[in-house]
Subunit: 355 residues, 2 copies
Amino acid sequence: MGPTMHDVARVAGVSVKTVSNVVNEYQHVKAGTRSRVLAAIDELGYRPNLTARGLRSGRTGVIRLAVPDIRQNYFAELADEIIRAADRRGLGVLVQQTGGDRERELEILAGRSLQMTDGLLFSPERLGQEDRDLLDVPFPLVLLGERIFGGPTDHVTMHNISSASAAVQHLVEVGRRRIAVLGAHPDGRETLRSSDLRVRGYRQALDAAGIPYDPDLVRVTAPWHRENGAHAMRLLLRAGVEFDAVFALNDTLALGALRALGEAGVAVPEDVAVIGFDNIDEAHFAVPSLSSVDPGRAKIAGIAVDLLVERIEEKGERRPPRRIKPDFGIVRRESTGFPQPRDVRLDDSSGTALS
Amino acid sequence: MGPTMHDVARVAGVSVKTVSNVVNEYQHVKAGTRSRVLAAIDELGYRPNLTARGLRSGRTGVIRLAVPDIRQNYFAELADEIIRAADRRGLGVLVQQTGGDRERELEILAGRSLQMTDGLLFSPERLGQEDRDLLDVPFPLVLLGERIFGGPTDHVTMHNISSASAAVQHLVEVGRRRIAVLGAHPDGRETLRSSDLRVRGYRQALDAAGIPYDPDLVRVTAPWHRENGAHAMRLLLRAGVEFDAVFALNDTLALGALRALGEAGVAVPEDVAVIGFDNIDEAHFAVPSLSSVDPGRAKIAGIAVDLLVERIEEKGERRPPRRIKPDFGIVRRESTGFPQPRDVRLDDSSGTALS
DNA sequence: CTGAAAGCGCTAACAC
DNA sequence: GTGTTAGCGCTTTCAG
């Protein structure tokens, strides 16, 4: 254990309060005193004990982020954005993974495990609408994702229906009418999953364009992994259903589909146009580059952190829960016929042979 | 602020010490007392304040992980493994990103920002051998990566040279002799970077196989991004240098190279065999699937956490620093001529049309 | 087996 | 402007 404030106070010949004032950049400290204190801090290598500060102030300066699996590009990119946003506000982020396990998700909410944090950003994967009441927890919580709506907490989500609709409309605009969907989930009690909402957007766009709905084109595919996207695409090709476009409900599925289409010798976008959802980094670098729905992930992260900070700072007020959806965008790339200039960042010497 | 131990003690009609004993599962508590305390805990919804506990015990139960950028697959997968390993030991992980910024990396070491953690796992990207002394910090630290050797801390790294050599040997075994390298760094003062070590392994393997070294085949490519791998490959193709295999110094470069080879109509592995390094998840799902060096990432994570925990628990002893490298493996996939069965995990109803 | 009391390092009243 | 002091909630001697 290092030196404490008392040590610094002794060396500087002042009281702990003064040391505290200096450390916390309190304005009204005489310049001479301040510099003596700073010298003592320097000499002793003093660093304030944040645990003690946390105990006193009731704040730790750390928030929790709980996601299913950080290996998934979407969550890695979300975590990145959230860590950045939190950092801007001087907060650290403790990352927890639930692994898509319901028990783990319940534990996260129970908060039995680690608290020592001021609040929680939670993106559940197994909890559903029926668990809504469990969100009424005794600590600041902001919900992410589409599993639960109308709960007692702030909720940052995306325009699933309208952005999916816009994606399909984009396919219609490039002349497609037989538009397959990859990533639907089987019908069941749940109807608020991302997949359900996005399929609903798909149908809206078809209706708007006067294109008849053909259930044969809507393929059940779960979980949303790359290999399953490829597999579903192979099955669709084999099924002999005619189609000239694919709307994959996330980019990972779309990337798998691109693979299967490539293997089958189907040209993208000439024979089949493809659009995904999420706009993960990799979409930019696929062959061909993948058009996608940008759901505003950076915004989502920023808003989520802002809301959480508000809740942490809120005293007794208890404002009613808010639901926020940032604007989305359609990113047009090669897979729907929009060639893009590639931006290649390179060191000066890149591309040369080694001397 | 929730109920405290004193509240529980009052309700249960015992002293705080007894409550503490129950909470900490101290053995010698009369069953009746214990159950009365537990009932009180339940009734009040008491949860121990970890900050207070941390202040008292000097432990927080949280470690820091500092990596350049969690969006990069390698680091996302490493973070996943580390979070799992830490979780098994009851530790939380606070993730920080340096963004490949030297100043940020120095801050991380200065520990000015967030401590409230028991130790640090640090994977620097900009610090180098000359910063070795900065690693002598007043908190438990375990170093990851290849930037600094011989420092005062425990260090978990990989068999860069011998595994790179094995990768090249694998290419030789499948009959290749004109083996290009993607991802070298320009010569400079530094010679301990991953790239340098892996190029050294490359040369060793060539020597062992009696293949002459041709500097035209070693391509400088930085940073190691997908687009740069593609770009470097295009330049190599354009340069007219003859080659029948590529050793990419990481998988991301290799995936970019696969793209460029595909565009150019070069068949992999028939015309050119490709092997990468890192064995990221995506290597499995590339077209064709990518052979790679598995550097033992899961092991690295587990060992790193173990070492850090040891250092945290060590009292005055101060064992000398250790350097550990787990075993590596060569994963043979399609890109070097080893077709693999695809394992597709699917929900039961996957692949069907929506009813 | 349980209770009383001290104190981890810091901040925030409240004095002076 | 600066010093004194009382806790934040918990663990831990030390008694009993």
